[in-house]
């Protein structure tokens, strides 16, 4: 019997240890869909690799033949191999979407991009020297990426109850959650607007601000960081 107990231990260990290490590239993270519950596709179905660049990468690393044997999930209705397809943008659209009205959500986000583009092109024309012109980022998607990158928090505050008192304890944040918070804050900042201003305009301004490392969202992020810094003393509650 004791022998048995000795042997069961490692099982439990391997049960709880085999979590695949998450990649830090959140961009690739978003292309893969993780489902908490079993979906209608069995779990041996792989996520599709539908972008040409990704496939080229696989061919280079000789993993293509290995993957080709396994069945693959079909790409979702919003995924294409188009050059302009961007997982972050589709994620953003999903965040903007209300009541499943994706058409409207996509429209709004694209309008916002259009506004950014118009503003940036105007700046480009206003710039006098070629160096200044080169500095102006014209691609709205680049601005979105920059904005999200700038507004992603590195730390978060967790309420932990110790001795009847809830402490705000600073702790590290997962990649996924920090991305979620960044997009959420951007949208919250946008929705906090006058009634007469439309969403795309306000959102364009917010994105430009955040990409410039200024604005409400970046300030909010810095606030959180500052608070974490202030509550540094409670950090030990995380494991005590």
């Amino acid at each position: 019997m004791s022998n048995f107990r000795y042997k069961v231990g490692p099982i439990a260990k391997c049960v709880f240890q085999t979590q695949s290490p998450r990649s830090n590239l959140w961009c690739t993270l978003m292309q893969y869909r993780f489902y908490p519950r079993p979906t209608s596709f069995p779990d041996y179905f792989q996520n599709p690799i539908f972008r040409k660049e990704d496939q080229a990468k696989l061919i280079e690393s000789n993993e293509l033949t290995k993957l080709a044997a396994l069945p693959v999930k079909p790409p979702a209705a919003y995924e294409t191999s188009s050059v302009y397809h961007d997982p972050l943008v589709s994620k953003l659209i999903n965040h903007v979407m209300k009541m499943g009205n994706k058409k409207l959500a996509r429209n709004l986000v694209e309008k916002a991009f259009e506004n950014i583009k118009r503003i940036q092109i105007e700046r480009y024309h206003l710039a006098t020297t070629p160096e200044e012109k080169a500095k102006v980022v014209l691609n709205p998607k680049d601005i979105l990426h920059k904005a999200v990158e700038n507004s992603k928090p590195l730390l978060q505050l967790l309420p932990i109850k110790r001795g009847g008192i809830t402490y705000q304890v600073p702790g590290p944040i997962t990649e996924k959650r920090s991305l979620f918070l960044a997009i959420k804050w951007l949208l919250e900042a946008t929705n906090d607007k006058e009634r007469t201003i439309h969403f795309p305009e306000q959102f364009a301004w917010e994105l430009l601000d955040a990409a410039n490392n200024t604005g409400k969202v970046v300030k909010r992020k810095q606030d959180i960081h500052r608070q974490c810094e202030a509550n540094r003393a409670y950090a030990h509650y995380r494991w005590q």
Binding site: S82, V83, Y84, V109, E110, K111, F113, E114, K117, R118, I121, E122, Y124, H125, L138, N139, P140
Partner: protein, 371 residues
């Protein structure tokens, strides 16, 4: 090595696609310039389209592109060709522009207006008929017409249009050789004497908004007389003409009675103008799906949009289709957008956009917007 070659090739390619023409006078343009863009002089643009005439989205583009460029397209050239070959002693010929939503009917009309302006026509241009009949802002001025029993006046819209007319024809009006043929008595004190210049009549309409619609009525009959007597050539352009024939407008009288288009005095005047009982002029109309309500947008063809009544009103007319971009036009447009920084990214995506937009000009512009 390869990449350098590629870059070299692509640069050559981009240079290979010319998208601009220096020929800015529409009357001089020919088939060789099809699909190329020409820039309209800013002053002319302001004069012609200062009070409307270009679609809103296009106005936005002109601001972003810092210029007003129009593409030379086949329908416009076709009509210009026809106008050049017209015998002006015969009754006026009516052209009907039709096409899908976003195909470029209004811009073709703008192109033709530019031609008319250059050629010294008296321009009677209605930017968008729906503006009068189907757009109901919070305070839409409406009054019963004092002169026509049972009809409705739209004085503010009328005055706005008179202003537009004055703006477009300021050169001709300043010359002052267009005179009124008879005396108009507006009220006991106000009248316009016979032989007064046309500008006076218009000025009266603008200052005394109450009489704007009557002034338009008078103005149109005067224009007809002037054209008949060969004192001026007249160019009539009405965008969204089919709105006049849709059974209902969105207007309603204070007693909540729905107004039909015939009950509006403006309709009556422009109906008179679009008859072919006068000479020395050109009439260009457009039939637009957006000019009528959603339940009557199944087809973009003119007979469907005009109903039988409208068809018979302007029969015989020359139908001119404004189609989607051809291959050449599309590539030229894409190059233009690239030049104006509106479109970026690798070259091969143009094929993608071409498929996705189905070569519809407006859709193409829309698809490029967020890229």
């Amino acid at each position: 090595m390869l990449s350098r070659n590629l870059r070299f090739l692509s640069r050559r390619y981009s240079q290979g696609v010319t998208f601009r023409t220096t020929e800015t006078s529409p009357s001089q343009q020919n088939e060789n310039q099809i699909g190329l863009f020409y820039t309209v002089n800013n002053d002319v643009c302001k004069q012609l389209f200062g009070h409307g005439g270009l679609p809103k989205s296009y106005m936005k583009q002109t601001k972003t592109f810092t210029e007003t460029s129009l593409m030379v397209r086949l329908p416009a050239l076709d009509i210009i060709n026809c106008i050049k070959a017209t015998d002006f002693d015969k009754p006026v010929i009516r052209y009907m522009l039709y096409g899908e939503i976003g195909a470029g009917k209004s811009l073709t009309l703008a192109h033709l207006l530019h031609y008319a302006y250059e050629d010294g026509y008296l321009i009677v241009h209605v930017p968008w008929v729906s503006e009068w009949l189907r757009r109901v802002p919070r305070h839409k001025e409406m009054s019963n017409s004092p002169t026509h029993e049972g009809l409705v006046d739209l004085p503010l819209d009328g005055a706005a249009w008179l202003l537009h007319f004055k703006m477009q024809n300021q050169v001709l009006l300043k010359k002052g050789n267009l005179k009124i043929s008879k005396e108009y008595v507006w009220s006991k004190r106000e009248q316009t004497p016979e032989g007064a210049p046309l500008a006076e009549l218009i000025e009266h309409g603008i200052t005394r908004v109450k009489y704007a619609c009557d002034v338009i009525d008078a103005l149109i009959s005067e224009i007809k007389i002037l054209s008949n007597s060969k004192q001026c050539k007249t160019f009539v352009a009405i965008d969204g003409f089919n709105t006049f024939f849709y059974p209902l407008t969105r207007l309603s009288t204070p007693t909540k009675k729905k107004v039909t288009p015939e009950e509006v005095t403006l309709t009556k005047s422009f109906m008179e103008l679009t008859k072919n009982d006068w000479v020395n002029g050109v009439i260009i109309l457009t039939a637009d799906q957006l000019g009528v309500s959603q339940d009557h947008q199944e087809s973009h063809l003119p007979k469907y949009l005009l109903y039988k009544k409208g068809f018979e009103h302007i029969d015989p007319f020359v139908p001119v289709e404004v189609g989607r971009y051809s291959e050449r036009e599309f590539m030229s447009c894409a190059s233009y957008y690239r030049d104006r920084l509106w479109l970026r990214g690798p070259r091969e995506t143009e094929g993608e956009l071409k498929l996705a937009s189905a070569c519809n000009p407006y859709k193409f512009m829309e698809l490029c917007a967020p890229l």
